[in-house]
């Protein structure tokens, strides 16, 4: 091999590796750290066996929306793992209550009777019902009729007799549809009503929503606050829903949502709508609120003309309207109905909270171990292989630069994270890559022992050594790929690091080590003294440098 060509090739490889790393660092990209290295919160949720993949995907989407709504979470990672699990990683979040709230309640969907609607957006009906002044407002009559109502129906104000007493027994009538009987309304029975204690005195909203009791809940879109009764149906009573154009009572041109119910659910729905239909069309109690996670999504009215026999579950549609933006609204509602309360209940399988300081400590420990390992290996190779050890050290730096570059690059573009297991994988790969040098250098020694000149040994030795390196690296790479495809959690991070390192090892051997050694053997370090390659392969230092040519 030509000395000049060898030098240029080795230098180009080195420059490319360092250049790539430099460019990445200059661009501000660093490896994306896994949760265990920067602190955060991880939850693994498991759905029952055989849950549809679509459902899982949808659940992931809903959770992502909720976490985004939560704010302050940088780069949440939510993904389906395995057949029926969802893994949620919230880096930087260490407040377990907040984190669990974000993903814990997986869509509590219920259908509840509306009892009362707040007079104005943002004003809770609770004050009127308990005869109190809403805070921050000095309207003495709480209700200004007709004003502030932007929804389709008028709202009756709270009857004065109810507004004056602390509790409003007459307000809530028991609707019992658990048996699915059409005569589910029992005007005589009175439900126990939540007391004012359960309400935030400033907002007038229920603090902790219990679907088995009544509650004051917000509809975020309109700002209205609804007083709703206990749940009549839950998400489990629904089997699906779709958004359609052109059906329903508004006739052609309107968007409707068409829910479908389970057999049981259908009966409950018929009973519930029958009970609601006993109220006047202007009465808020003729409405049912669709409640998701403690918020009212929509509160349609049971249409005029529906009798106390209730709505047929197969014919029911929820009319949204004909506007352009109402398509989205209809689709959102259908999504909520379909997936809001997932037919499968997720169980928390594994919760992990890593404090930020533990993450830092782990990262530091990993770095110390990695750098320490590199230095030790470099020293050992230098001591044993002398001049050849210099090549190994330069090669290790190329290897390290490329690995750091790849992790930064893949972290930035593909979201590949570097976890603690990944750090361990890298530390292990230092051993594997240094083995490539050892295989090659031992091969050179052997070729020399078999009578070749040092130069011939360096050039010929590479061919045989590279074959061994390829074979051995192939086994490592197989392992890494299979681990990545088949394993879960931490093992994946390890496999990524090991796989990348193995590929880089082959690249460095072919594009750097080979040329660098070919160059070095043609310099004074090739055969000048005990430190030279000649010395390292165990030949007596040549007294006459020309002797090496022989």
């Amino acid at each position: 091999m030509n000395k000049r060509r060898a030098l240029v090739s080795a230098l180009v490889t080195m420059a490319v590796a360092w250049g790539l790393l430099g460019a990445t660092l200059a661009a501000g990209a660093t490896p994306r750290l896994g949760l265990d290295l920067q602190g955060g919160f991880a939850v693994r949720l498991v759905a029952p066996e055989g849950t549809d993949t679509d459902v899982l995907d949808k659940a992931v989407e809903i959770m992502r929306q909720r976490i985004e709504a939560l704010g302050g979470v940088q780069e949440p990672e939510i993904a389906v793992a395995g057949d029926n699990a969802v893994e949620v990683q919230l880096p930087g979040v260490t407040d377990r209550d907040r984190a669990l709230a974000a993903i814990g309640s997986t869509g509590d969907l219920s259908f509840r009777q509306v009892i009362q609607i707040g007079p104005l957006p943002g004003v809770s009906p609770v004050y009127a019902e308990f005869g109190l002044d809403p805070p921050g407002l000095d309207l003495d009559p709480i209700v200004s009729e007709g004003e502030g109502e932007d929804t389709t129906t008028t709202t009756t104000t709270a009857p004065p007799d109810e507004a004056l007493v602390p509790t409003t027994p007459a307000l809530t009538v028991a609707i019992d549809c658990s048996g699915g009987s059409p005569a589910g309304i029992d005007t005589a029975a009175v439900l126990p009503v939540e007391t004012f204690d359960t309400v935030d005195p400033d907002t007038g909203l229920t603090l902790i929503d219990d679907p088995a009791a009544d509650a004051w809940l917000l509809e975020p879109d309109s700002g209205l606050i609804y007083h709703v009764g206990p749940a009549l149906l839950t998400g489990a009573d629904l089997s699906g829903a779709s958004a359609e154009f052109g059906g329903g009572s508004v006739g052609a041109g309107g968007w409707v949502v068409d829910p479908s119910f389970t057999g049981d659910g259908g009966e409950k729905f018929r009973c519930a709508t029958g009970a609601l239909a006993s109220f006047n069309i202007a009465d808020p109690r003729r409405r049912f609120a669709i409640v998701l996670d403690g918020e009212v999504v929509s509160a349609p009215v049971v249409a005029e003309g529906v009798g106390t026999e209730g709505l047929s579950p197969s014919a029911v549609t929820i009319t949204i309207g004909g506007g352009d933006d109402q398509q989205g609204e209809a689709e959102d509602l259908a999504t909520v109905l379909r997936y809001g309360a997932l037919p499968a209940t997720f169980e928390t399988d594994r919760v992990e909270a890593v404090s930020a300081s533990l993450g830092d400590d782990s990262l530091r420990a990993g770095l110390i171990a990695g750098v320490g390992g590199l230095i030790l290996v470099g020293l050992a190779l230098l001591l044993y292989y002398r001049a050849l050890g210099l090549i190994a050290i330069a090669g290790l730096s190329v290897f390290g630069s490329l690995l750091l570059f790849l992790f930064s690059f893949l972290g930035e573009t593909q979201g590949v994270t570097l976890t603690l297991a990944g750090v361990a994988g890298i530390v292990v790969s230092i051993g594997i890559t240094s083995d490539s040098y050892i295989v090659y250098f031992e091969r050179i020694k052997e070729e020399v022992r078999n009578g070749r000149s040092v130069r011939a040994a360096v050039d010929n030795g590479f061919r045989r050594a590279f074959r061994t390196i390829l074979t051995a690296d192939a086994v490592s790479l197989f392992g890494a790929i299979l681990l990545f495809l088949l394993a879960v959690g931490a093992v994946k991070g390890f496999a990524v690091a090991l796989g990348l390192a193995t590929v880089i090892d082959v690249i460095v051997a072919a594009l750097f080590t080979r040329f660098a050694t070919a160059y070095l053997v043609r310099t004074r370090l090739g055969d000048g003294g005990r430190f030279s390659i000649r010395g390292a392969v165990g030949m007596e230092p040549a007294t006459d440098p020309a002797g090496a040519e022989a």
Partner: protein
């Protein structure tokens, strides 16, 4: 020349195959201990496999295990397993699975006792199904990996080598698992990763050694017995094995060292320990277990039996299987000729090599 100089030169003449019974006895004894221990002592499986809760915190005030334990029994967690980690800088409490409220109480108690804010406490709660999934996925990965590797080695080398490599692998895994069982160390997902790595490493090492054997078979054909060839190969590859083990163990040792003395590196330490043992076992097994095994197995093949008979006729039966001092010299002579077109006299003078691989060249 001193023994070290000879090792450096790769001209040692250790009789690896001839002393195989000693090595097999060592390996056998270790595997037996491992199996007995695995059967009777079992493995101490961590929370990730059996479910449970782990709470970890820093220990800035140097609270003792006893103090913690008594505080914990105050909230009804007397059965908790309390450990100091990172050389006393950290606290680790492990309990069975807890309810939300009980966990909160545990976190608060540990925070109060250790004198750190509750947000600085790391916790881990694992349901009983998670471990089963991890174990299942690891086992599935293992089986498929073994099948693929067996096929790969069978194609690249031959099926006997593949099976021998697998035997060496089982040897290494048993010894590592045995160590965990004997010492009662907890098995964590990090351990599983480490074991999967050992798997890769053990095969890698065996592949490198077999590559050497195959090469010598190509060079020497059947002018040597397989036992002689394996011995020669082992002596030549010995330094590579020693060096590779050394350079692999150095970073792992660095992990082990850092992991034992720094907080936050408990995972690294668990990982490093299994690796340390596994890599050592892997190096041992590829030289002292897999290779002699391969030699005695291949010795049964008809071609190699013929080669042995010829060698005995040439040199007398006494030293047919023994490596002889002049073997490396003999290699030297042939190896130089190797890359050139083989002189007709060499091919003509020796019997036809038994290996079909010879023809590829």
């Amino acid at each position: 020349m001193s023994i070290f100089a000879r090792m450096y030169q790769g001209t040692t003449t250790f009789d690896f195959v001839g002393n195989r019974n000693k090595f097999f006895r060592v390996s056998g004894a270790m595997m037996l201990i491992a199996i007995l221990s695995l059967v009777f002592l079992r493995l101490d499986l961590g929370v990730d496999f059996v479910g449970g809760t782990v709470v970890e915190a820093a220990n800035p005030n140097g609270v003792s295990v006893d103090t913690l334990r008594s505080d914990l029994s105050g909230i009804g967690e007397a059965g908790a397993r309390v450990q100091l980690t990172g050389g006393g800088d950290g606290i680790r409490v492990q309990t069975t699975e807890l309810s939300e409220a009980a966990l909160q109480r545990l976190v608060d108690t540990v925070a109060a006792t250790a004198g750190v804010p509750a947000a600085e406490i790391s916790s881990q709660e694992v349901g009983p199904t998670f471990g089963a999934q991890v174990a299942e996925s690891a086992a599935r990965a293992l089986v498929i990996f073994l099948i693929v590797v067996t096929i790969f080695i069978s194609i690249r080398f031959e099926w006997r080598m593949a099976l021998t490599a697998l035997a060496a692998l089982v040897h290494d895994l048993l010894i590592t698992a045995g160590l965990y069982s004997v010492t009662g160390l907890e098995v964590t997902p990090a351990t599983v990763i480490a074991i999967l790595t050992i798997l890769g490493y053990s095969l890698y090492d065996t592949v490198v050694v077999f590559d050497k054997i195959e090469e010598q078979v190509d060079i020497l054909g059947d002018r040597q017995t397989i036992t002689g060839i394996v011995n020669l190969s082992m002596n030549q590859v010995l330094m590579r094995s020693v060096n590779t083990s050394l350079t692999s163990l150095l970073p792992v040792g660095s992990l082990l060292f850092v992991g034992s003395f720094l907080l936050g590196a408990a995972t690294l330490r668990e990982f490093a320990l299994a690796l340390f043992v596994g890599i050592s076992a892997g190096t041992y097994s590829s030289i002292f277990f897999a290779s002699p095994l391969l030699a005695i197995w291949k010795e049964q093949e008809e071609d190699w039996q013929r080669a042995r008979r010829r060698a005995e006729r040439r040199r007398g039966p006494a030293d047919a299987g023994e490596p002889v001092a002049d073997v490396p010299l003999q290699v030297a002579a042939t190896a130089v000729a190797e890359d050139e077109p083989r002189p007709a006299t060499v091919t003509g003078a020796t019997p036809r090599p038994p290996k079909r691989r010879r023809r590829r060249r």
